[in-house]
């Protein structure tokens, strides 16, 4: 995926990877370290918490604490790659896009996801996809990027059982 990103953007100049919390943070960090080792130059890394932008705040109880958004530099004039672990309805990406626009004016915004599980509810697609996995709405995709147990698991919502 790192190679695809470099190819599409003709190198890592002005690239700024921003992970969508919770799931996108670790993946963005991994991608940045791959990009840096391929290109041999630093690539900016940030994370955003989209809680305040969610459209379901009025129907679901929201988490009490906001996770820390860390954006070491301005998004102005940058090529942003939004990073998330799973692309599902597209609503998180919509939140992240709104948030980015409130932060400044990036040159362009792309989307990288590890898993695309379908069931989009908004006209949003990913530019870079690790793997397409057809799923049912009654299933949950769990991604673990911890160093010793990297896994993607497909679980049934009710039973919590499934295949890895």
């Amino acid at each position: 995926m790192a190679h695809e990103i470099l190819e599409r953007n003709q190198g890592s100049r002005d690239l700024y990877l921003i992970g969508i919390l919770q799931g996108g943070g670790a993946l963005a960090r991994r991608l940045v370290s791959s990009l840096q080792s391929i290109e041999g130059r630093p690539v900016s890394l940030g994370t955003v918490d989209i809680t305040l932008y969610r459209d379901d705040l009025s129907t679901k109880p929201s988490p009490p604490f906001l996770k820390e958004s860390l954006l070491p530099e301005s998004v102005d004039h940058k090529k942003i790659v939004l990073v998330d672990d799973v692309l599902y309805t597209g609503r998180s990406v919509r939140c992240a896009l709104d948030l980015l626009m409130d932060l400044g004016r990036p040159t362009l915004v792309q989307l990288a996801v590890l898993i695309d599980r379908g069931h989009r509810e908004l006209p949003i697609r990913a530019d870079f996809v690790g793997k397409n996995i057809p799923t049912g709405r009654d299933e949950v995709v769990e991604v673990s990027l911890e160093t010793n147990r990297e896994s993607v698991a497909l679980l049934r919502k009710e039973t919590g059982r499934g295949s890895v």
Partner: protein, 308 residues
């Protein structure tokens, strides 16, 4: 509600557990980050309406609530009672029921009589936030005072805080004393005997009538406002004597801890409670209080009103 706060109103500082207070501080941290952005608003309370209903004059509390609500994208309506139907004789309850029927999701209320916000909260369906009731409570002021102390000192445990001045008529002091002692702070009250309440049962505080003795070694000195509009002046021989005995000045602060933090809830009677502030500028947290107040009120509004 976010399910985080156990009450759907904020009427008294006692409504909040220690966990809830610390949670409000953590949430305020995130909201203060927003103030450095170009677009300072987030859409979390979009479509909600907050009414500021103030039966007493106020600049900073009302403006602070208004800015906090607007940064969360709520619509804000300010009702100043001197220009409302209240002067035509409308009762308090009728006014609040009208506001609710107009579609308000929350009411921020300040009233000269103690207990009014609580009384209202039992009669309406929207969230009620106490912005000061009589001599009783001013919970968001206490939260922002504690938050300022936490930001400047980094902790509560082991701190010594002196509250100086008109304790008797101060709702700010009442809310602060309870919040600070629960956080494990050593609280001292300093003021002339006529301005210290007779009944202090339930308060774990020490009292001093001499300012230098009272603030000895204190990490924080919180000066209170002499509420001249409440005829406080009749409780003291003269303003100039009060200023001489209880005014916070660079000379007096030498008796406190070397890195003492000076707070004042505002508005300041300059030359009386606070003298020559420029001379102890680096010790003053008074503008920090205003700044942090917005973050605290955003956190309170968000935790109470986001969600249903």
């Amino acid at each position: 509600m976010t399910d985080f706060l156990s009450s759907s109103h904020l009427l008294s500082i006692d409504d909040l557990s220690l966990d809830e207070m610390n949670g409000i501080f953590r949430t305020a941290d995130s909201f203060l980050d927003l103030s450095s952005r170009t677009v300072k608003k987030v859409p979390s309370l979009r479509g909600k309406t907050l009414v500021n209903l103030f039966y007493e004059p106020s600049t900073r509390t009302r403006t602070s609530f208004e800015i906090a609500a607007k940064r969360l994208s709520a619509d804000v309506i300010n009702i100043t009672t001197s220009q409302s139907s209240v002067v035509k004789g409308e009762s308090l309850l009728d006014t609040v029921r009208t506001i609710e029927a107009l579609g308000a999701d929350g009411v921020v209320i300040r009233h000269p009589s103690s207990g009014v916000p609580e009384w209202i909260s039992r009669r309406v369906g929207c969230h009620v936030i106490n912005a000061g009731d009589g001599l009783r409570e001013h919970p968001t002021q206490a939260l922002l005072d504690l938050y300022t102390i936490l930001k400047r000192k980094g902790r509560f445990t082991g701190l010594r805080v002196a509250i100086v001045g008109d304790i008797l008529h101060s709702r700010v002091a009442r809310s602060n004393i309870r919040a600070l002692t629960r956080m494990g702070v050593d609280v001292r009250l300093v003021g002339p005997p006529t301005l210290i309440p007779r009944d202090m049962s339930g308060w774990k505080v020490n009292v001093a009538h001499d300012l230098r003795e009272g603030i000895k070694g204190c990490d924080v000195v919180m000066a209170l406002r002499l509420q001249l509009e409440r005829a406080t002046a009749s409780f003291i021989p003269s303003l100039s004597e009060y200023a001489r005995l209880y005014g916070i000045s660079p000379a007096v602060l030498r008796f406190a801890s070397p890195d003492v933090l000076v707070l004042h809830p505002g508005p300041i009677n300059r030359g009386i409670e606070i003298q020559d502030e420029e001379a102890f500028h680096s010790h003053s947290g008074i503008l920090d209080q205003v700044h942090y107040g917005v973050g605290i009120r955003m956190a309170v509004l968000y935790l109470l009103m986001a969600g249903q």
